[in-house]
Amino acid sequence: MAQITYRDALRQALVDAMEADDSVLVIGEEVGRYGGAYGVTKGLIEQFGQARVLDTPISEAGIVGTAVGAAMSGLRPVAELMYVDFIGMTMDQLCNQAAKIRYMFGGQIGVPMVLRTQGGTGRSAGAQHSQSLEGLVMHTPGLRLVMPATAYDAYHLLRQSLVQPDPVVFIEHKGLYTMKEEADLAAEPPAWGKAVVRRPGADLVIVTYSRQVHQALAAAEALAADGIQACVIDLRTLNPLDFDTVRTEVEKVGRAMVVSEAVMTAGVAAELAARISEECFDYLEQPVLRIAGEDIPISVSVELEANSVPTPALIEHAARRLVE
């Protein structure tokens, strides 16, 4: 099997999708000649030309709005938002337009577009370039939300996003682009909208997604050295949300925590913890814990930044207390 980075898997997904479907086009800031701020779209403009790889002015709302209109007109736009932190610029087009058009118009038409963006900490990018804003998306009915943790998932979930009938917000993690893994992209794709158990375990369940999957796996490894077996669930998509897998594992084990890089209050972890508490109450031996980002902006300092979001050490600490 070949080694491939998360970034190259994403690029390969775009190339393969554009070759397979002439209606797919890429639109965004610096996606063409520059090759993408994080290099995901490198080489696309040379291969597919300016008509399908559109460099735009710095106009985030206009980019998303253009993608909405293009998607309503038979195209499959992949709009790129350079940082998820810029999502505020696009909220009307994303949440009032893309998300609601099918419903408001009585099912006449959908908006099959993908908004690719990236978020998270790890590059000392500061408070306006390091956030995890998936909660805003998850809070808006009509938007699908995808957050891959591996290169294999990045490839397949992006390909699958490009055949969805509805708008998909696809949030990559900036800390994963250079991560390499053995992956056979030609292998059977994962089922869309299904979580995956990354590691089985009989003592507690860690529900997570995106880069925190790797932090959770690192914590699980350390716990295993002391005989504590943590099950790690990677949700892969937050909408659709595969709660069946979560429920099944939590009911087996009776202890659960949710790990998310997004800030804790009113966040994705809060929603997941509430659901687990509500639906698995009779099986729980301990309160469901949230291990989430601190309720503060992200600092540019490497040390402060690293401790603003869950670390393997924090996950491990909480897990030990949970199984005591």
């Binding site: 709005g65 007109s73 009307d92 038409i109 639906e279």
Partner: protein
């Protein structure tokens, strides 16, 4: 499609009395439809009071739509009934939608501010000021790619002239040579704020010129003046030179049905309503030899048509409750679980 929208070939050549009669009929249909919308509200049969009438703006809708062709697409603002009617909308289905009925264009889920119809190229009315503008850039991209020559038009009011998204959109349309039109129906008021209280730059087309669009501002009293400017700009847009047209008119009534316009004087309203494009056109027709009795008969026919639309709306059923969770996602996707169903499921386990 309903009888003779402006986009259909008129009986007479432009500038002829027959041509003007066509335009008069389309404008009268809008005027009467809007009056009936007001009646629907008074009778308590509209879904809410978010009803924005375009009375006084009929020449803008009819004149601009006259330049549209089959296959063209458009978005409108929240005051868009007239534009859609001019483009050929069925008043029955419009009125039903305004009443929140299942027989409406959007099955009662959209209402006055979210009417859309893909069959007529209506990509949607919008309740966010400026919200529908960038979609025409995307539609223009698709049209250019397919070489269809179709123009996509954003209709909006003077309020949207102060929204940033307009400038992002005009800039991209010009940058990419797209077949796109921006039509500003300047009725002098963004809700209760008169244009000169919202901006120092009241020569609206100058802003579009700055972005490299072809642009004009015209007075909306005479529908043929509007139409002539629209034809010129749409022709350029079809060739890849996007255009901007500002049409000056006066919003006869308040922002929405319950607004009694405390922010403007009676004198201003009186003078504004003297600039009535429907009456102006009628007077022109009569002056040019059209029999006033024929026009009265036409008005009466239109009144009956629009009365029937009220009956249709009132007689239609509300959407079925089970449609509530439909169309959040695509037709083959699982519908969201209702709060009630979820509660029952959770409590059954407890």
């Amino acid at each position: 499609m309903n009888a003779s929208p402006s986009g259909a070939a008129p009986d007479g050549a432009r500038g002829s009395n027959d041509h003007l009669l066509e335009r008069y009929r389309d404008m009268r249909r809008i005027r009467t439809f809007e009056e009936r919308v007001g009646e629907l509200f008074v009778r308590g049969e509209s879904a809410g009071s978010m009803l924005h009438l375009s009375i006084g703006e009929e020449s803008a809708a009819v004149g601009a739509v006259a330049a549209m062709r089959d296959g063209d697409t458009f978005t409108t603002h929240h005051r868009g009934h007239g534009i859609f009617l001019a483009r050929g909308a069925d008043p029955d289905r419009m009125m039903a939608e305004i009443g929140g009925k299942d027989t409406g264009y959007c099955r009662g889920k959209g209402g006055s501010m979210h009417i859309a119809d893909m069959g007529l190229g209506h990509l949607g009315a919008n309740a966010i000021v400026g919200g529908g503008i960038p979609a025409v850039v995307g539609a223009g991209l698709a049209s250019k790619r397919e070489g269809r020559g179709a123009v996509s038009t954003a209709f909006f009011g003077d309020g949207a002239m102060q929204q940033g998204i307009l400038y992002e959109s005009m800039n991209m349309a010009a940058l990419w040579d797209l077949p796109v039109m921006f039509v500003c129906i300047n009725n002098q008021y963004g809700m209760g704020t008169r244009i000169d209280r919202a901006t120092r730059g009241t020569q609206l087309h100058e802003r579009a010129l700055a972005f490299g669009l072809a642009a004009r501002s015209v007075d909306g009293l005479d529908v043929e003046v509007v139409e002539e400017a629209a034809q010129e700009l749409f022709e350029g847009a079809r060739g890849g030179k996007p255009g901007f047209l500002a049409i000056s008119c006066f919003r006869f009534f308040g922002h929405a049905r319950k607004d009694k316009s405390p922010y403007r004087t009676e004198q201003e309203e009186r003078e504004g309503r003297e600039r009535d494009p429907v009456r102006h056109t009628r007077e022109r027709l009569v002056a040019e030899g059209r029999d006033a009795a024929d026009l009265d008969a036409l008005d009466a026919t239109i009144a009956k048509e629009m009365d029937a639309s009220i009956d249709f709306a009132i007689g239609s059923d509300a959407p079925a409750m089970d449609s509530m969770f439909r169309d959040v996602y695509g037709p083959d996707e699982a519908a969201p679980e209702s709060v009630r169903a979820r509660l029952d499921r959770v409590l059954a386990r407890a």
